[in-house]
Symmetry: C2
Subunit: 450 residues, 2 copies
């Protein structure tokens, strides 16, 4: 085979260097989830097509990866049957973690205790056109609580966002809005049917300015009067509490709007009593695409790196209704691992220790020296230090190069001189410094935190 093998377009291998950084992100996030009492869940990569189809819109249906039925599926089928896909494919790869979660909750409703708090970190697959930053296989990292309307859940998600990005060292801002407020605005200006149009237009305010937004709203079929009524909303400024009190006047006649305002008032009052690093801002231009949101919605952006949202989510009142279980309200957010990775690489935020898988390399000087070196190696490992011996007694230069390429910070050399002295030569590969360390002090010498 002359040509090197490749992988499918839009998929990736994660090298050890990338994996260690990714695991650092996932481990940090998981640790926070656990602190908040969320438990892990995993669902199969394959779901029945009946579970997946119709849940993501027509566009989503087209982006499902479908799996050929196994067995001798081709033989014995007529040409007509061949074209009838349900016969040759009944399973698809999951498109997100939300629909499988809803399916799981409905399927296992009698075994679960509600409120059910779960997190889920698994890959999803989308047959999208691959392009920079858009992959056909990528991880989602979701945390949801289902089975309660308590706004404490929204508050805890805000805290989780704060803790995660604080732990990762990423400065971020959380923008919040509420679908009920968006509906209330549409209702208040007499266009309850045009909630999404209005939100999309508001969303462009920063980019195209007030006049262009107004023009666009007229194009989208709003009356000039309605646009006039919207203007004070577009011009809302100030602290969250100020925005909310003005909004409550404007939306006084919309019952849904008032409900949304009350929800946000409660959430903000809790959040203010918590000491967050994270700024939390009411942003009326925030809409989020997914149709199932019905209450608070969230979106997080990095402050020091331009890359779109790195986390988002919201409240949904009827997620499990699609599988026949009504009345379960839930709320959840999803962390965008790929983008968080890019932010942290771009800002050089990974601790140095994350970049090295091995802390110590013992040089291999031949079978005689091994007898002395292997017990040392064992002691390092017993102390939990990632250590290895170069498996062959090759040239010193080659072994040093190996340590360098693997970014191993310490190289330990034990030759006949060292054996006689009962002390190893320890070289710090970052500084080039070399010193003698008594065998019994070796673990301490190489485990200094950096």
């Amino acid at each position: 085979m002359a040509q090197k093998p490749t992988i499918p377009k839009g998929t990736r291998d994660f090298s050890p260097a990338e994996m260690m950084r990714r695991q650092y992100i996932f481990d940090t996030i998981k640790q926070v989830f656990r602190t908040y009492g969320f438990a892990p869940l995993e669902t199969p990569a394959m779901e029945n097509l009946s579970t997946l189809l119709g849940k993501y819109g027509d566009e989503g249906d087209k982006l499902l990866f479908k799996i050929l039925n196994s067995g001798d599926y081709a033989a014995g089928l007529t040409d007509d049957e061949m074209r009838h896909f349900p016969k040759i494919s009944e399973k698809g790869l999951r498109y997100d973690l939300t629909v499988p979660f809803a399916r799981y909750v409905v399927q296992h409703q009698n075994e679960l205790s509600f409120p059910f708090k779960r997190y889920q970190i698994q890959p999803v697959w989308r047959a999208d056109r691959p392009q920079k930053g858009r992959y056909r296989e990528f991880y989602q990292c979701d945390v949801d609580v289902i089975g309660t309307r308590s706004l404490l859940c929204e508050v805890e998600l805000v805290e989780i966002v704060d803790r995660v990005f604080r732990a990762l060292g990423v400065r971020a801002i959380l923008k919040m809005n509420n679908r009920k407020i968006l509906y209330g605005i549409a209702e208040a200006i007499g266009h309850a049917d045009k909630m999404m149009d209005i939100t999309v237009a508001i969303d462009k305010l920063d980019k195209i300015g007030l006049d262009n937004v107004k023009a666009e709203l007229l194009e989208r079929g709003l009356t000039p009067e309605a646009v006039g009524r919207l203007q004070p909303i577009l011009e809302l400024e100030g602290f969250n509490t100020q925005k909310i009190s003005k909004l409550s006047e404007i939306l006084a006649n919309s019952e849904t709007g008032r409900l949304g305002i009350e929800e946000m008032r409660t959430i903000f009052s809790y959040v203010e009593r918590t000491n967050l690093d994270l700024p939390v801002e009411l942003d009326l231009s925030l809409a989020r695409g997914l149709n199932y949101y019905t209450g608070a919605i969230f979106e997080v952006k990095a402050l020091d790196f331009a890359i779109g949202s790195i986390c988002g989510g919201g409240r949904y009142d009827d997620l499990t209704g699609i599988f026949g279980l009504k009345g379960l309200s839930g709320v959840g957010i999803s962390f965008g691992a790929d983008r968080i990775y890019d932010v942290m690489c771009g800002l050089d935020l990974f601790p140095a220790s994350v970049n090295c898988s091995t802390q110590v390399l013992l040089v291999n000087l031949g079978s005689e020296e091994e007898a002395a070196v292997l017990p040392l190696l064992r002691k390092l490992r017993d102390a939990g230090i990632a250590a290895e011996i170069y498996p062959e007694s090759g040239k010193m230069k080659k072994q040093m190069e190996y340590a360098n390429r693997r970014a191993i910070p310490y190289v330990v050399i034990v030759g006949s001189d060292e054996l006689a002295a009962g002390a190893a030569a320890v070289k710090d590969m970052r500084t080039g410094e070399q010193r003698q360390v008594a065998f019994e002090a070796l673990a301490d010498a190489v485990s200094e935190s950096d």
Copy 2:
């Protein structure tokens, strides 16, 4: 929708309780891998069919899950083209982690430093007939080093097996053999072409006895003379060193056999100098199915639970040859997570802490008490304790039931009496005992290790 949704046959959801136990196993294994300098790798779930086909035999090809090409694949295809699968499927789900690993090494050979030590823990998919204990999606957990012939690698894998099962509390035995010895035996009795037949027959010795094995060998085409020569090998007993010295006499005329004996002698001499809990035994009946093994082979069984092998692997001299890169020798083992899980459940080996995701539940007595309780909750979480508040101020009984069903060991109650006293009522749900704990001592009181 009247009917509950389901998942495809042979796939599984992993509930929080299962996930926590599985993560405990994976985390323990990963920790040992890292201590030995192995770094993580992940490859995509989908590989090109050209990468997968022909690597697992005809039977394996049939068991590949194939993915339909995305896009509007049906439209515009003639009936004839429809039947021509490469047009409608060019990708498949990975069948194991070994072939993707080989593909990765060849694809990235110029970026890697050899010896390359990686571990990989990901699901694989096989379109097998589902049955008890056999799934269509399951995790593999592989550790390999490639690019060196050093037998230190075999020794380190033995140590890894020892450390993993010691850490998990599973008593196990490691059986080893060597493909070169198996070939040497076949050669020594004049049937170099019948190595697999001989091995398969030897493998049945325990079950069907010597006479039946001999009969089977005759059936498989061995001469009576050859079977006679084999008899002393079948009757080998004693310590590894005794078996090896007898074998070296019997295989004196087989160069390959002598090489295999020398390899095992070296490996055992290293292993003996290591303090292992794990018994390591030369077992000539061990063959392992995979064709690519060329040297030492490994298999681990649990001592206290009947379930087949829980770990296995071996040395392969030409794994990457299938992708055009010759001469890279490697050795690796794979841990069977599902079986290890079953062993540990069967023997009740999981620590109690693994079974609870939340350590403390704060009872919710209403919005007034919350003001006092939420800062306490925050302090518990700051101390790294998994804690939650019941999100609604429902009935006490309901909240207690929730704690019970979630296996939460501590419930903390702060009502008006407790507020006045500055101390919470802490109930141990396992014993039913309740005591007063000053607010500032709460974290200590509930973080006692169990």
